[in-house]
Symmetry: C2
Subunit: 301 residues, 2 copies
DNA sequence: TCCATTCTCTGACTTTAGTCAGAGAATGGA
DNA sequence: TCCATTCTCTGACTAAAGTCAGAGAATGGA
């Protein structure tokens, strides 16, 4: 890895955590421990169940329990069992809790404003733009891409979303029954491979390979969730699929797509796929692409 | 303040501190409290005196003392009185301490690399560029600009640096004696005003006004330290001077400058100053500028 | 109807990160 | 020479942020 990049990232980490961290304490931690404040914030106006609070903040169950009790003692929250599963408990803000949360909200606004205040308009715009870029790319960096079984709940979620989106976007909708859609077994080794992209362990994208003896490997089910677009997830999925295909000995990749998926088409083009004659009779396809790759069997094993 | 900007800054603070903070702990805080690690890092290869450590990390003297003793107990540092002032104590790393610091260094590199690793080359470059922007602008945001007495050590430092820089940059050097340089009294209210820009309480720039009865107010001693260029400090100094001048009732501002100071000249132009005939006989000047402003007496009082 | 599992809570801890009020030594200037 | 100041250290605290090992209630499937 380029050491200049690494040292610039380190410099950034130092400066930003120091600067923003210091402000965080000065503004938010004024009369309330940061832990309590974070919890109060995360409960939200609608309330939340304890389990979700815990996983979102990454805290010990005992610790959260204690924090909740201290908030309860101050009359800021109420805790009661969920209707349908009485093991789970729901936390809600009382009116006093909502008022306190609004105060925190104001403090966070003040903090942000204090960072912007000394800057000129032009500088403010540049700062916010750069912050957006950093955020987006840091988010992209924590997206993981791993093989998954087609029957795994995350995989099924992706497939459903995939079909639902095609149905929305195709001129005449999309019906799984009419398409040459792959059955789960075909996307499971050794017949194929399914990759799932996850962000904060939520599935946000997928892509699959279907290996064919003595024929090009097919790319299937490329999908990226609305919320994760613009992070380069599609490109990474494609790249990972190509890598796996190469290990499997693939020389040629095939994929077909619908003309309504313009962003995908231009991504395929820019990733080196060239349009070819129709190589199958998929009813929903308008474009057929192929790419030649270099097999690298057993690499990294 | 534009609430879109504010909420974007908040979003950034949340995402980035969470993400970088989590990594910080996972990589750096593995087998050593973060406080110790920071101290170990800050001591540096050359050693440092305790006073400076304290001020750089912003910690209580008793706390630093205790941290140092725990590092000493592990054989990582030695502490001994300074030669010339035995109240001050110097801290140095032992070979074991240096080894430990190298380990920390490696961890910090790994952390940074782990952020970059999942990204494509293009994304890495964009991330690092955006990080640089954010850092620079956050640094700019904590520069303070306040009036100072011309005899204050920080003010004197600025004046000396100002003269030294002119001497370096002018073709034939710069001699205070030959210039119509203002004496301290002239830059002190009510005759004038001196502003000092500071970063982390170190002086990094200055600018002054000289009020003249029934004549344009003069801008003098505009200087920004090498280390703080590109942060918009000059522009902010100029803006603040104009604001003070307006409050004082000024209608026209005058300033003269040397042709070697090209960056300053273009800043004056872009800030609305127009070149005019020479209005004085300053021997080092090649360009004379003026700007009309609207007086705002007693504003904000 | 069991029984393993899930979810939350409690009690008993620990570690980290400080703060505060001096004490004691050294220094610098009047 | 004195005295205020500076610098570091020590003792005596505190608060925050967790960790860990259960206990007890509820649930869901065999």
């Amino acid at each position: 890895m380029d050491s200049t990049l690494v040292s610039q990232v380190r410099q950034f980490n130092r400066t930003v955590t120091e600067r923003v961290g210091a402000l965080n304490e000065r503004f938010l931690g004024r009369d309330r421990p940061l832990g309590q404040a974070r919890l109060l914030w995360e409960i939200g106006k609608e309330g939340r169940d304890v389990r979700r609070l815990r996983s979102q903040l990454g805290l010990d169950s005992g610790y959260v329990s204690r924090l909740l009790r201290s908030l309860q003692a101050e009359g800021l929250v109420t805790v009661e069992p969920q209707q349908d599963d009485k093991r789970v408990r729901n936390v809600r803000l009382t009116p006093a809790g909502r008022a306190e949360r609004t105060l925190l909200d104001r403090s966070a606004d003040d903090l942000a404003a204090s960072l912007l205040q000394p800057l000129t308009d032009a500088q403010r715009t540049r700062l916010v733009t750069a912050m957006g870029d950093v955020e987006r790319l840091l988010t992209a960096a924590i997206v993981t891409i791993t093989p998954a079984d087609p029957e795994h709940p995350d995989a099924r979620h992706c497939m459903q979303q995939y079909a639902a989106e095609l149905d929305r976007r195709f001129e005449h909708g999309f019906d799984t029954a009419q398409s040459n859609v792959a059955r789960p077994g075909e996307l499971r080794p050794p017949a194929g491979l399914l990759l799932v992209a996850r962000l904060h362990s939520q599935p946000v994208g997928c892509g699959a390979l279907k290996f064919k003896p003595d024929a090009p490997t097919q790319i299937k089910r490329m999908w990226v969730d609305e919320s994760a677009r613009g992070l380069g997830v599609g490109r990474r999925l494609l790249y990972e699929l190509e890598r796996h295909a190469a290990v499997h000995g693939t020389r040629v990749l095939h994929l077909e797509t619908n003309r309504s998926l313009t962003a995908a088409i231009s991504m395929y083009r820019s990733a080196g796929y060239t349009e070819v004659e129709a190589f199958n009779d998929e009813p929903y396809a308008h474009h057929w692409f192929e790419k030649h790759i270099t097999p690298t069997p057993h690499e990294g094993l």
